[in-house]
Symmetry: C2
Subunit: 337 residues, 2 copies
Amino acid sequence: MAKVTEIGDFGLIDRIRARKVPHDDDVVVGIGDDCAVIRRGPVLEVLTTDCLVEGSHYEAGWLSMSDVGWKALAVNVSDVAAVGGVPRHALVTLFLPADFTTKANDELYDGLEACGESTGVTVVGGDIVRTKGPFAISITLSGTCERDEVVLRSGAREGDIIVVTGSLGEAAVGLEYLKSGRVPAEGSAGEACVARFRRPLARAAEARTIVGSLQPSSMIDLSDGLVSDLRHVLEASVVGGVIDADAIPVGQGVIDFFDGNEEEALSRAVAGGEDYELLFTIDRQAEDRLADVSDRLGIKLTPIGKITRKGSGVKMAGREGERDIEKGGFDHFKTAW
Amino acid sequence: MAKVTEIGDFGLIDRIRARKVPHDDDVVVGIGDDCAVIRRGPVLEVLTTDCLVEGSHYEAGWLSMSDVGWKALAVNVSDVAAVGGVPRHALVTLFLPADFTTKANDELYDGLEACGESTGVTVVGGDIVRTKGPFAISITLSGTCERDEVVLRSGAREGDIIVVTGSLGEAAVGLEYLKSGRVPAEGSAGEACVARFRRPLARAAEARTIVGSLQPSSMIDLSDGLVSDLRHVLEASVVGGVIDADAIPVGQGVIDFFDGNEEEALSRAVAGGEDYELLFTIDRQAEDRLADVSDRLGIKLTPIGKITRKGSGVKMAGREGERDIEKGGFDHFKTAW
């Protein structure tokens, strides 16, 4: 009898997706994108759920309870952002061990509400359950989307430009600091990496501007890592992609951490997860507008490659020529969570 | 520092409710009813979340994985039913221990889908996470409601009749069988009790008929137990209530289990949880229509008492006179989960 650990999480998701589901006219998108998309009269509702489990997603001591509250909501906001939605209403389920204190609960809600205030989300309900296992928080987030603005993973077309927001690899380096116990210098880029792992900034407002100004053909948030998430887009869109190693916006804290070892820094930037930046594809005609939109948003929008024809997989072009990432392998650098 | 176990789940919910939340015009009902109710243009969306955790809600061996899938969805359907909503779309989060098998996953989804098919629910997304703790499943269910049909806990008025669907105490007796290892005779009412604990029938279709035909002033599903859930209605409606001990529809399996001990049987019926029947209140004028609606639905609709003025709490009238349930205490019979 196969264990789910043998087929992996994506294997299990494929197995669940393969099940016959009853037809429902109102389900625009079911399992398999950042959000489910449901028709509600004149608007679309987007629904997503994501959880944080102590010992699975982080170790006690790495995050304060306030960080846990913030992050648990932010990772959901990021999923709503990735389809061009406006995050609105959250349901919060808490799995509480017997020694959980009311102070911890208050701090958890402080972080949750701080993230909610900054992204326009209200907590409207939830569930509380005692567990003999570790602390966990599971959030379901509902948002809205104008019908012509929903952006899926499946819309990338050959010739489109691949763009990422901000800089990459910082959350993975933040995690390395926390795992090793090394404390980065105050005010350093390394400290910003740790903050990024603890309190990711979901690109909700930025996503709306990107959708309005650049009409991306596809979009996804970078939770698993650039290569892994790009692969999701390519598979859903039935296309290939080439990314330019020299174009990847490697975070300053990542460069500092590896002290000039460019290959190591690049590996983290393309394979490290949890940056919660956005990856999107745009028509070549829209590339001229990137600089202007980047100025308005105050964040980098970096073209890192282009969409190719089906079957070419994820390739990386660099000084040593073109590498097939599927085989060349960056997966062993993947953030281990 | 207080532990949450000291203030209890309802204490913790009160603490969370007491927090200042940003005003949101679209939130019709936030924390504190069976569902959150959100305005979506011309219709209302209802949202609820509920989970099952092995070792907290049941012990391994009591339920098959198919039962777990069924029950995890049914308890959410019951919450949507309790506000008069139509259950539609579910997000499923699985917390999987390392030894969880693909066969267990398939069985889980068999049960989930069987319940979904019988109640009109489609699974549209979810999350999968590894845990070092016990298996858990958390479901968020979204449904719709016509704007004039949402029924809250807070609408009961002095003089209203209190009505319950079906019969009570069976799930609690089913749990006693499972805890004790006693196996009820095949085809017996005891066996039906065990089935009821394992695969509760949420009253989704019945609730819609009740709402349409009887215009209940308040409604709740019986998950915690009659006394406990009635108390939620009384508190939300700022009224009191008296229930008639002789009118309580004690399940046949409950009567059989206690072999003629009426007091024990009654205690389980009023304090045992997880029956997932509905309790609702109707205007006295509507009482004449109960028998007709009951015939159409093919289930019992039993008037068990009436709403009194504020401050009188939950009282029970019986052969020995009126007892104050708040003090007289049925809570020690409460299903221990």
